[in-house]
Symmetry: C2
Subunit: 659 residues, 2 copies
């Protein structure tokens, strides 16, 4: 193990200067613009963040209460008698994720009632803490099991990590309170128990690493960094108990730095990656950082769905092998996407490479946005790309045990809703970065950026766009610091992007339009991203998608949804998309939360015989009768399953192979 030298430890930013960011590395290619410096004023993410503020946060609070997950704290605090738990043993984490969301929310959109609610819950959490700093309502002196007796499956340190992230949100809001004090006491307890000379081992579910790292960054206490590095280093030696998918389930099959691709449980893999990037960055461990970047790249190229979702197997909620990407049994858990955003963001900050911002865009529009329904009272957990039969509906008020339902109010294991709300509450923290005299707009939105360059000079932009419906982005320099480099990301899906400044239009080379000059207030830059609907084909190695195509427009993946009760319902089992046909973008059509559909044409294939053995000798293709041309309107994937029972396909069989 490399000794951490103090010179490499960097200097964590003091609380008052770190800004309201979930991740504040001490070094890296890019520095995050704080969430609070980016303000949404209209459009896609504005609407979703408003839904979060107005509805989703309270929905989660209500459901956590209803499930009795606050009660476990009251029991541990001695304020209530024991009650049977509704849900799994790691429900503390959902309380902490909601508190984290509240913290980001309160820092940006203060609300006295919510502040009071936060204080009440923070008090409760602190009351449940043991005298020695230990805190978990399931384990420990007041819980059902003895602490540290089930590290593989107990999620004990995992819960702690979520508390640390909530505390960081609070510290970066300039607060010290019951929650931050409880978090620091618990962090110290863990460092005592698992530090040098203490216990070996780590948690079956990574998370504590990333929590400790950010707590280190927020407080400067080096022991948290040392403990996080210790957890990372101890992983990968097959010490956890056997699992039906093997040790890779826990990412315990090999040391983090030896792996070349992500595997096992997707959320575990992504949380571990995020924490390991943090350790690599803060300890200057370029070998580790390089290994993590390679793992990400291989995973993105071979084990990722078009939506950015990951996880091909329901068993173990896990990655499959390379190119094993079944659309129907895609697990693609929402939490995996949240974890992927967290990992990609850290890699973007560390490397400055646009591929990570591209990944974040894909994940936000096609996974995060897909989870909540338009009303804000239901969430997807599992996100298939093919629904051959109408999916499993849940009753209002039902928290299903199974996760492969359509959107539900809540789940028996409900990690996803609280993960979505904390992501939406801190969303603007992922939109822009600064570096060395430059300001980069990494994600597009309608609103403002009001921040400082790395050298401290203030700068403000106004961004106007109808993204993701239109590819035109107008950036006005609202307050110029003089000379700086304005960088606008050109997503990888965009073809011939152009940028216009002062009436001069130039094609953009590379993944960023880079414009360095002495800017004046009022200067306007227009980035034009052509946004045709495009037919995509899968890599030939993806067996499950052979001879199908998908449609993407801008950052949005589209799908064919056939609503059972609709008058124009098409049998998607028989629809074959004409790849050579025109795709017509139709604005302001479709469901209410969709501003553009794509009309595609195709044919209906002959029906197969029912009730027969489904494997038959190949026959010469029957000269098909003049196929009836059929048009269908594709909708963005995020908007599916909002109109009643339906079937759905992202990947649509192509007509060409039928002939």
């Amino acid at each position: 193990m490399t000794e951490i030298t103090t010179t490499r430890l960097g200097a964590p930013a003091p609380v008052e200067q770190a800004g309201l960011s979930p991740v504040v590395p001490s070094t890296g290619q890019q520095v995050p613009v704080p969430a609070g410096a980016v303000r949404l004023e209209d459009g896609f993410w504005f609407e979703r963040q408003r839904l979060n503020t107005d509805t989703l946060l309270d929905h989660c609070d209500t459901w956590i209460d209803r499930m009795g997950w606050y009660d476990t704290f009251r029991v541990a605090a001695g304020e209530e008698p024991h009650k049977p738990l509704q849900g799994k043993l790691f429900t503390d984490a959902d309380v902490y994720k909601l508190l984290e969301a509240f913290a980001w929310e309160l820092a940006q959109r203060p609300d006295p009632d919510r502040e009071a609610r936060f204080a009440e819950l923070a008090r409760l959490v602190a009351a449940a803490q043991g005298d020695d700093g230990y805190l978990n309502t399931y384990f420990g002196p007041k819980g059902e099991e003895t602490r540290y007796t089930n590290l593989a499956h107990g999620h004990e340190l995992y819960c702690a990590g979520h508390l640390f992230q909530a505390a960081v949100a609070r510290l970066r809001s300039g607060k010290e309170d019951d929650l931050t004090r409880a978090a620091l006491r618990l962090a110290d307890r863990i460092c005592e128990d698992f530090g040098v000379g203490g216990r070996e081992g780590s948690d079956g579910h990574p998370e504590v690493e990333m929590g400790l790292m950010e707590l280190y960054r927020a407080t400067g206490r080096v022991r948290y960094l040392e403990q996080a590095r210790r957890f990372i280093d101890q992983r990968g030696h097959r010490t956890f108990q056997h699992h039906p998918i093997g040790h890779e389930y826990y990412l315990d099959d090999m040391p983090v730095r030896d792996a070349t691709v992500l595997r096992g449980h997707v959320v575990r893999a992504m949380y571990l990656t995020a924490g390991a990037v943090d350790v690599a960055v803060e300890t200057g461990d370029d070998q580790l950082l390089g290994a993590l970047a390679t793992q990400w790249e291989n995973t993105w190229a071979r084990r990722t769905y078009l939506t950015g979702g990951m996880g091909s197997r329901h068993l173990g909620e896990s990655f499959g092998r390379d190119f094993e990407l079944p659309p129907d049994r895609a697990y693609t858990e929402t939490c995996g996407a949240v974890g992927s955003v967290m990992a990609a963001w850290r890699l973007l900050l560390a490397t400055g490479e646009a591929q990570y911002a591209d990944a974040i865009e894909r994940l936000l529009y096609n996974m995060i946005a897909t989870s909540p329904n338009a009303e804000g009272d239901r969430f997807f957990y599992v996100n298939p790309l093919l629904q051959r039969e109408p999916g499993i509906a849940t009753e209002p008020g039902e928290a299903p045990f199974r996760k492969d339902t359509l959107r539900a109010n809540w789940f028996w294991v409900s990690c996803c809703p609280t993960n979505v709300v904390r992501t939406l509450a801190s969303l603007t923290g992922y939109f822009a970065t600064v570096s060395d005299g430059s300001l980069t707009v990494q994600q597009y939105f309608d609103g403002t950026i009001d921040t400082r360059l790395e050298d401290g000079r203030p700068v403000a932009l106004r961004v106007r766009t109808e993204y993701p419906w239109q590819g035109r982005v107008e950036v006005t320099v609202a307050s110029s610091p003089g000379r700086f480099r304005l960088r606008l990301r050109v997503p990888s899906w965009a073809g011939a992007a152009t940028v216009t400044v002062g009436g001069v239009t130039t094609p953009v080379q590379g993944p960023y339009a880079e414009l360095e000059r002495v800017w004046s207030d009022g200067d306007v830059v227009v980035l034009d991203l052509p946004m045709p609907a495009v037919v995509l084909q899968p890599d030939a190695r993806i067996d499950a998608l052979r001879d199908t195509v998908a449609v993407q427009r801008g950052p949005l993946v589209y799908c064919a949804e056939s609503v059972v009760e609709a008058a124009d319902a098409v049998d998607l089992d028989r629809f074959r998309l004409d790849v050579a046909g025109d795709l017509e973008v139709r604005e302001a059509a479709g469901p209410s939360d969709v501003r553009a559909t794509v009309r595609a044409t195709g044919v209906i294939a002959p029906a197969e015989p029912d009730g027969a053995w489904p494997y038959r000798p190949v026959t010469a293709a029957a000269s098909s009768p003049a196929d009836e041309k059929v048009a269908i309107d594709l909708i963005p994937y995020y908007a599916w399953s909002n109109r009643g029972p339906s079937t759905m396909r992202v990947w649509i069989p192509s007509a060409s192979a039928e002939r």
Copy 2:
């Protein structure tokens, strides 16, 4: 609930007349020819049954001992102190399945050493039984848990059912011993505990129903029939605890008679079906029998792989939805195939329909034969139809926890090996039937049938064939009872079958060649089943197989296997089979246990770019450079994974769609 009337109860055959058959219904369209009346003399099944006799049975005995699964009986009997169990809580069932296999084996191929081993184990089982007849080494007074406290997952009654089947094998061998007495005492205990006025509920894993039914048939004790019917009727009311795939996991989502297709855990579904057919037949419940036949037919048409295997999902070891049949993640557990043979055989006896014999043939050649390796020391548990990367190998002496490995010596959960050996030991009991003046050869083999027609007249046939390598079957009437109808099944894969008697060749209409006449000793019938290699295409609704083809010859499904270290290894990811090309049957080529390979031709597709986002805009098909023609030798699926690390495809992408 319909009252069982004694007139419908039929008259179970007395022990001495029932014959050595696993299933002896009192009524039905066909009556089984006992296993002992069919003798194998050469060929495919002769070799496998000899492997069973010489190697597999002792292999299982050794491994059960090694895993400590006999020790649990010694502990329960008070003969040894408690030891930690290696394996799951239902290992009693493996002991019983091996004893069942021993019983069938001893009745046909007596062996004093094996008889002594059987007696020793039977004594041990009886010694573990409680004074009140209760018997389970995990539950009960001497076990770890209280009896009947975990019916959903405890497999308590499931283990009992396996004991009953073992006892039936013994009773039908004309023996009464420690095992049969223990079984009857336990059956009585269960009837007391779960009979009218007793406990409600049944076992999460069906099996006891079929065990009780055959014990009823073997003893005439009506209470066993009544109890089995009670278990069947009580199922389907969502009384078991929640499961990640829902109540269908246990087949507890709806009453057996209301379902239209099988679902949930495949082995549970098939065992339940088998037991329910038994109940339907013995109680004259035609509505139930009809429902079960419909369930089978829909399952066969929509939820079955080309190999006859079932189970599309690893999670819950379960069926998928209709047409969800991924080849790579096919679970297709060997035990599911054993259960399917048991269910199909009962439906064949009840209905006389050839489709069930077809199914049994498919399952025997492509699933049962696939499980053990040629050396007889390893077994497949999970049977995928696509191995994109070389599979997971296990060390000699390793009993893996995971089930998705290549063949292993044993498994931590090792239901499959003992299921295979009991099937092979009783195999000839599934080959022929009699009915109303007819004798039907349901499966082909090289050997003799020496039995009685339903009216008691003795009849003997000699069957000569090189099936499954050649489609010629020569049947000689060795001992004729005079007039009877000789029926020879024409498998559904056979095209223009002909039958030749006395120099006259006639085409066969329908699924059986039916030849009624006064037969003389020495009369010869030749059935000719044309056996070309045939290219098959999947139903268009099977998304996972789009634009692929498979090759079958006779009853054998073939596959492309690319052995990594072979000089002629082909990249199966890139091979495209030319559907219009000739298939050349090459005899006596390939692995040692294979007598015919099939040479197919195709091309190698261009390589895809590595490391790139795997979804790209559709481009006009590049005019491919003159593709190199490639020939590959397909081998029978059962023989794969015997030559070192390899990739494998049953379904091969077709070349046509690439152009």
